[in-house]
Every structure is written in structure tokens, then in C-alpha cells.
Symmetry: D2
Subunit: 318 residues, 4 copies
């Protein structure tokens, strides 16, 4: 078929979705004088019977993105935010069940952690943490993420995190790889392994007929197993380290069936200081320069045998 | 099945890929005294027979990411960069065809445009563009993107752009939508429509047996049709505008079978100035505040009937 | 004096200022069917008789930052935005002249340029620019900046730009420098010179008794002279190029007395390709890698003899 | 004087400086199996007898920025990094004392904190912190900053931090302010006070004749006093809170004479939910939306009576 005949073929609408993205919902809960924070960034994406919005601009089936925003805030007040996942389930169900034209809702959430202010030196002169009831400092480490999708029948709940930057300053090697005419890399038997983890995992909970996981505990435990695998793995490749992380999570958390990692290899190159007569060996404690770009990017899915991989490759790609 | 029995099930490796990301390759071509620039950001992702890298850390099948970086630079010198697509095809083919363990290569490229320095006022006292042979200013408008995937048999070539920010200061309305108990939005018969376009389109060229498109011309024309549809569409919804853009591209460019848009609705809200007695109607020329977050996010695929949608939903999502 | 006696000395309030930062003011002007845009980011900083706000939290002398925001929007409507400088003069004068407790106002503005959509290939089938009356694309090149300060008697007007990225792909050398024991750099007789200019210049207009410059024309001309000096200078150091730029502006624009540049040397390093037997000489057209960090940072003030340097060193530092 | 006569006046070089910015120096120290990290971003700026570099491009007096980079890495190896300040003092002294043409050196440093990986739930099954000897997670809270300037005779040492985001969810009011015709803000007797602190403080140590402060302890204590003042201050204005922070630091740390704050008021607006019949009062625990722009920006210097304010106004401005 040549291009002219192709041009004659009709054009159709494919997958489409819309909604309000990045609603910055902050909920303070007061328990007497003691306050608690939930600090979320909530994005709504709705799909359904929306062809006319595209074809003619008729909005008769369109719930405005502004309304989806209002709903995010109203639900935080009306039902509270027990966890990002629970809140997202509530929202997704509402959009599909209340609007005939909406057949699928996807809620994506980022959660920012805050902790009570305490003295970093544990100085007892400082107001104790038990007395600091409404003063917080943003934790600033990883961002927790969640994605809840509902199609009117089943849910899919993904949880995860991004920007958790970790480093092993030893116990990492890289050697025995393919050498071709473009290879200049030297083998290394004692290198720094550092990465900024981005990861999503999929829960096997899909409907109210199952017992719902404790989302907060599940997150804490999954993160703990990822970190512990990072600590314990003597690494011959970043791929090996990721596989150990994923295996450890799945072996310990029955509620999770699949996990995907995207891990930039944040290169720390040993600086050559021979120009001024200095040795700079890893074994003696070395000076490294932390490079920005380019970086190795390692991505992998680990899943329970017999289950379907459902986390999109492009979801952790960026 | 309960969680304990799940935990007993073996864990397996799913989709995985690796490579060097964000190689900043700049190629100067000298045509006598006249220079030309290609300024690319190149990311390599390879897949194949890589289980052992994950399971045991054996790198026997692993071409180092550092080598993929070296190859990007060497190919730019050896073969030049005719277009991002042509260069990516060359690289993808090389990785798969030269390494038995590599079965699939994906090259992602961002391209930054430069233009020759000229006087913005067209002042003839200024050195004319024809005399400015090696002085450039970065254009700073959209970033052009391309993705080339090769599996040893066929290619898939996506082209596109991101961060092309456009505005219609009138000829946009939004009304007739669903109202529920959470709806507060007022209908608007003369609003600003602004968005920062991110779009990918898929070429139907897949192998050397077909005539290869002129990638540079194809990009220019696709962009032109997107802009022209934006100019010409009297818009009742951003979805309608995107659909017009996509339809126009497919109707005019036979080499393209599918296009996907991700378009944040960059809200410009008319500022209420009644507090100080000022009217602020669109028809008189109004003052708006440009909001950051939240924003409507509209995404859609438009494709030729009978073809398979292959651009991932999550590719334009972020 | 030891530290204990120091601790006994009273503590006092020094320089302080406050206001609403980053008000995103967009003004559409309609001239029949033809629309014009001014797209500004306006920051207000007020100083004056504000000790009690700090000492006791009494806000009796404090005009709320929210009010300064409202004023920015109201003035855009009431008086229009002829230029960023003119608008800032208007605002600064208002805050000081209308509030007895405010003795100094500083208005900082970023301006984003938009241009009418036209076909990039000059294709006449495309709707002509003269017919495109309300469709714009963000230019995305440099950001124009202005700062207006008023103390009740005199104005100080700084104008400038940031993020104007320019490159000379030849006619740049670097050699003849100091060599010490830490020096490894090779001399280079044909290198790329690229920088992302940030610059502020100071007008000698300070009060209504002088004829006010044409701010729009002054900006265009200053930018033109900076670019032309960049094109024309055969460079032996980036410092030399900056000095030529500054000199050219001052020699041609009598309304400007001082200019300061901050110019990161955006290194483009010639990639060594000897590992695979390729030469990569500048004279043949070479492949470079564009480095992110570290970068040389060159900063300089050029001013008219006998005038006082008033642009802060730290203003262009970041 | 008219502009033509101004143009006739000679142009001269004013303040100038140069050096390599953003050297990412990472030093691992091994104490047996236990490793320690210092992770710095180091920027060098040198001034001196550099007129010819600007006038003619002669680099005879110019130590290349590349050499300043090499020196940063070599010094980290040769002398270690006891603290950012100590390391910066060493570098600044070296550049001025070793190069006749360099009369002043300014070293700016950002420091990123890492902590040993531990289980966030204190689970004892997790490898104990005392056993985790070379595994780290980036802390991700504030960035510590330092600036050391040396002119051949005296040092000036500034320390500080940025991006420390804190929130009081109550004990903040704002009322009693000026109302003019542009004022619409409602008084608030129970609001959230949140800010992202950027602050610099100046030590009174200036030469080896004085006892050098313990820079690490000084930093920890200054930060502690800032946080404690934030916790303890019942706030009627953000200015009052900053003044309390500054006063507390100066009253408790004799080695510090001056401190400057730049504090964006990170607005958390109570969402009006009356549209769906919900009350949303602060006293009941409310839902807020966290706004991006615009934001109040409050800046102030607090200093010891009789000392000279030396921290530039523009240093914390951006």
C-alpha cells in the first residue's frame, strides 16, 4: 500500500483519558493537641464514553477536570486520608460508579513524608519529640507513589517510591563483560555502587471480596526489604542487586505479585590524581567525582511465576 | 490462594533492559567556512539473553553501558548524523547485529535546535545571516524526540516533540458539561486555550524493504500540520483541538499511522478585579493569572483505521 | 572579646524586605481582531518602617503580600503593560507613595516572549502571519528580566536577560595560561565556545526629570549588540568575549552606564576516538560531548568611567 | 550630560571573578570496615590581576578553571575533608598564596548529607546500624552550604543551609494589617505556617590568630536553635518567627555575628468546601491546598549590635 492510499483511510480515536493532574491536597488531622499530616499530590485520569468530546467538542459526557479537583479535596475532608491507596480507591470508585459516561478511573498519587521536629543531636535540652505536637520538618527522602485503577469491576493497585538514593561504598565489582572494538572500560574490583531508585510494585488485591492489605505497613515492609537487600548484596552488577531486591520483596510480602525497578547507575568515578603524584586507591579511601550524565540505566521486572506482568515498561522509564 | 502459599511460589525475571542514558553527542559539520550543528541527547536500552547478569552477576553476555556510550560517539564521527532517526537506526542495528546476546535495541533521542544568529530587528547593519557561518543561538522552543527500536527483523520508528507551548487568546469555549454536587466551574464562552504539547507519532516504515521517509522533512511537515490545526480550530474542548491536530497529520502524511498527544491545559484564569471596581472581560482584553498546578491533562491517540495502536499510554504521560 | 561577652551584646534587626513573589501576570490586548500578549512573572519586595512586624508581630505597618499581588493584577488592567520597566516603575512608585510605612519598593520581573505561529518552512499554503491574529507559540529563547527600585526620590532601573545560549563552533582558542603542579589541561587552538548568558545592565535614567528611554527598543538594541560582539570576536578567553560585549553595548547605548555578565563556560569537549582508530580533529568537523558539571563560570562588570558600579556581584551569581 | 557625550566616555572593567563551578567531590574515608562520606559540590571564584585576560585575551595571569577543579580533588585526597569550612579555608588560602596574580578566592560549597541505612520501623531483625558499615541513604533534607573568602590577609566564613522545609500546623495568626483599596485578604486566627528556609550566617573568625570554631558542631547547634525557635514561637507574622530564630542563634552561639534569612511563605490555603455542604474549619482538622506561586517572600538580617552587616542582600534572594 502506498502512502496516497493510506491517506485515504479513515482516522479513528484510540485510547484517551483526561482529568486534573497534580492536586496538592494537604490534610491535617487533630488528635487533641497532637496533629498529623497527609501531604499528597493527586492526579486523576478518566476514560469512557468520550468520543464526542473529541469529534465535535460536545461536553455532554464530560465531567470537568475542575470537578475532579473539587472531589479530591472534598473526599479528603469527608472521608479522611487513611493511606494514599485507600483514598485513591475511594476516589476511583466514585468517578466510575457515579458517572455513567466514565468507565475507568486512574488515580496517581505522590506522597511527601513529614516528621516531627527533634534535635538532630538528641540533646535533651531540646523540646522532646513527645511535646512537639504540631511542628514538622519535611523528611525529604524518597517520594512515595501509588496508582489505583478501577474499571467498574476490579481494581489494580500499584505502590512504590522514587528518588531513594542509596550508596554502597564498597562490595561492588564489575568485570568479565563483553569487549568489542568500542570498549575502553577497565574492570573494577572495588567500586562505588550508587543509584536513585524508582520502583513500582503491584498488589494482588483487586476487589472487596479479598481482604484489603494494610497499605501503610505493606509500604514500610516493602521499602525495608529493598534496603536490606541493598545492604546485604555483594554486587557483581547493578542488575544482580535489583534482582535480589525484587526477590526479597516477593518472598516476604505475599500481597505483592510483581515489582519493577528503574535504577540509574549514579556513577562515582575514581579521580586520577597521578598528575600530582597522589595515589587514589579505593582500599585507602578514595576521592571520586560524582557524574551527572550520561548514566547507566538499569530496568527490570521481577514477578511471581505464573502471574501476568502488568506494570508498563514505560512507567519507570523516565 | 492465601499469601503464605503465594510466598512459596518461585520468582522469575520479567522484561529488562539496560544501557547508557543521556549521552550528550554534539556533531559539528564543516562545509567550507560554514558550520552545521547536530545536538543530541542519546539513550540506549538493550535487551536479550541477560538472565545471568540478574541471577548470578555474570556479565559474560553484557556489553557494558560504557561501551554503548563510546559507540554513540564513534558512530557520530564515522557515519555522521543525517537525522536523529537515521542515526538511531544505525545504532540500533549495530547493537543487535553485532552482539549475539543482544536481541533488541531501543535508541531514544532528544534533539535541540540551534539557529544562526541574526539581528532580531532585521537590521541590515547587523552581519547578515549568510555571513554568520559558525555562530549559533539555541532556538529554545520545542525539543524534538525520536525513538528507534530494532528486534533483529523490524524497526519501529517514533518521532515527536515536547514542550511546544502554544496559546489561542480567543476562539475557545467550554460549556455544556456534566454538573454534579462537586461542580463549581462556570461556563466560559471566551477563554484562553494554552498547552505545552508533548506528542509522539509512529511511522509505518519498518524495514529496508520499504522506501525510507525523509525524516527531516517528515518532522517539519508533521509539526506544521499540528500548528496549523491549532490555529484553525475553533475549540469547544482541548480534546477536540487534539483530535483535529492528529487527524490533520494523518490525512496529510501517509508515512505516519498513529499519533499520541499529552497536553496539559495550562490554565489562564481571568483575574476577578471587582474588589477595586475594575471590569475584566475577555472581549476588552483581560488580565489573567497563569496557574501552575493543578492543571487539566488531556491525552489521546489518533490512528489510521485498521492499524494497531502501538505507542504506549505511559510514554506521553510524564 | 570572647564569645561569652559577645553573647551578651544585644541583637538588632538589619536589612529586611517582604512582598509577594512570582505573580504570573498575563495581559492580552485586543486591537480589533489582532491580539498582543505580555507574559510576566512579577515579584514585589518592600522595605520601610517594619521593625514591629519583626519584634512583636504587630502588622499595623504591614501591607499584606496578598495586597501587593492584587495590585500587580489591577495595575496591569488599569494602566496596561507598555513594557516591563514602565509597569514596574508604576508599581514601585505606587507602593512607596501610597503607604507611609513603605520607604522602598523593588519590583523584579521576568518576561516570556511569544511570537505568532507561522510555518517554519515559509510555506505559503500555511495561513500567513498577517492572518494569524490570536495564535501564539512561546518563543522559548532568553528570558528578559527587569528590576525597578524606588526609594521615594529616585529610581534605579536594571534590565537584562538570562538563558540566552550561544555557540561559536570555531574562532576560539585557549592557551598561554599559568601551569602549576595541578595543571593537566592541554592548550587548544580551535575550540568550541558556548555559554548561557545571564546579564544585567543599568540605565542612567533615575527620575522623571530625565527623558525616559524607550525600554523596548533599548532592550532589543542591547541584545543585538551583545550578539553581534559574540559573532565578531575572535576569542582568546571567554573573559575577552564578555568584555567586548559589554564595551559594545556601552559604546552604542548612551542610556546604559553599567553591565554585568555571568557566563558559564558550557564545555564541549572533543571526544577522544583513538580507541577505535578514528581521528576527531576540529578542522575536519568533530564530535564533542557537552558536559554538565563542573563548568567554568566567568563573571565581569563593565562600566562607564567615572560611574559607580551598582549591580550587585551576587545578582548574576546564581 | 546627554547620551552622545556619555557614549564618548571610556569604558572600564569592574569587579570580575572566574573559576570552576560545581565540582562534585565525594570523599570516602575508611576506618577499618566502617566508611564515612563527605559529598560536596564545590565552586571556585578567583579575582586579581586579570585585566589583560579581558582586554587582550592574554592568559598569562590566568590559572585555568580546569586547574582549580584538579586542585579541589587533589586537596580532598591530600588533606581530607574535615568539614566543608575547613576544606574551603585550605583551598582559598592555596589559590591566593600560591599565585601572585590571584588576590582573592571565594569557595562556595554545598554539602549533601548521607546516613547509614537502618530499618525505618526500628525492626531488630534488620541489620543493626552498628553493623551497616558501608551502606548509606541520602538524607535528602536540607542542603548545608558554606562560603569561604580569603583576600591574602583575612578570611570571611559564612555557613548556612537551604531547602529546610518546616511547618507549624497551628499557633500562627495574621491580622491587624493595613487595608487599602486593593486588599481582599481575610484575617486569620489559626493558619498553617510553612516555609522552606534558606539562611546564611557569618562567623566572627577571620584569621589563624583566633581559635577556629568547631565547624561541624557550630552547624548542628545553629540548625538546632533555628528549629527550636520555630517550634516555640507562637507566630503573628513570619517576620516575627524569623527574628526569633535569628535572635536565638546569636544569643546562643558566640562565634556567629550575623544571620540572614530568606523564607518563602509556602501558602497552605484552607479549601472552601461549602459548595458541597462541608465545613472545613482549622479547629476540626482541615483540608488545605498547597499553592506553588505566587508566594510571600520574607527576608531579614539579624546581627549583633555594633557589627557590620556583610551578608549580601542578594545572596539569599533567589
Amino acid at each position: 500500500m502506498n502512502n496516497d492510499s493510506r491517506r485515504a483511510r479513515p482516522v479513528v480515536l484510540g485510547q484517551n483519558q483526561y482529568g486534573k493532574a497534580e492536586n496538592r491536597v494537604v490534610k491535617i488531622t487533630r488528635d487533641g493537641d497532637t496533629h498529623h499530616i497527609k501531604d499528597l499530590n493527586v492526579s486523576v485520569a478518566l476514560s469512557g464514553d468520550l468520543d464526542d468530546v473529541h469529534y465535535s467538542g460536545s461536553n455532554a459526557n464530560c465531567l470537568p477536570t475542575d470537578t475532579t479537583k473539587n472531589t479530591c479535596f472534598a473526599f479528603a475532608k469527608e472521608y479522611g486520608i487513611e493511606s494514599a491507596e485507600q483514598y485513591g480507591i475511594h476516589l476511583a470508585r466514585h468517578f466510575v460508579d457515579s458517572q455513567p459516561s466514565i468507565h475507568r478511573a486512574r488515580i496517581r498519587i505522590e506522597e511527601y513524608a513529614w516528621e516531627r521536629i527533634t534535635a538532630s543531636d538528641g540533646n535533651s535540652q531540646f523540646i522532646g519529640a513527645d511535646e512537639v505536637k504540631h511542628s514538622f520538618v519535611r523528611k525529604g527522602q524518597e517520594t512515595r507513589v501509588a496508582q489505583i485503577t478501577y474499571d467498574g469491576q476490579n481494581f489494580e493497585v500499584l505502590s512504590g517510591l522514587k528518588d531513594l538514593t542509596v550508596m554502597n561504598s564498597t562490595n561492588s565489582e564489575f568485570w568479565g563483560y563483553i569487549k568489542d572494538k568500542y570498549t575502553t572500560l577497565k574492570e573494577d574490583y572495588d567500586r562505588i555502587l550508587a543509584t536513585s531508585l524508582s520502583t513500582w510494585w503491584r498488589h494482588n488485591w483487586t476487589s472487596d471480596e479479598q481482604r484489603m492489605p494494610n497499605w501503610e505497613k505493606s509500604y514500610e515492609q516493602a521499602k525495608k526489604h529493598i534496603l536490606q537487600a541493598f545492604v546485604e548484596t555483594y554486587s557483581l552488577s547493578l542488575q544482580q542487586t535489583l534482582y535480589q531486591m525484587g526477590t526479597r520483596v516477593l518472598n516476604n510480602r505475599g500481597e505483592i505479585d510483581e515489582i519493577r525497578f528503574s535504577a540509574p547507575n549514579k556513577h562515582h568515578f575514581r579521580q586520577d590524581l597521578s598528575f600530582c603524584g597522589l595515589e587514589n586507591e579505593a582500599k585507602d579511601g578514595a576521592v571520586y567525582y560524582a557524574a551527572d550524565r550520561p548514566y547507566g540505566l538499569i530496568e527490570a521486572t521481577i514477578l511471581r511465576e505464573g502471574t501476568e506482568a502488568r506494570i508498563p515498561v514505560d512507567m519507570t522509564n523516565l
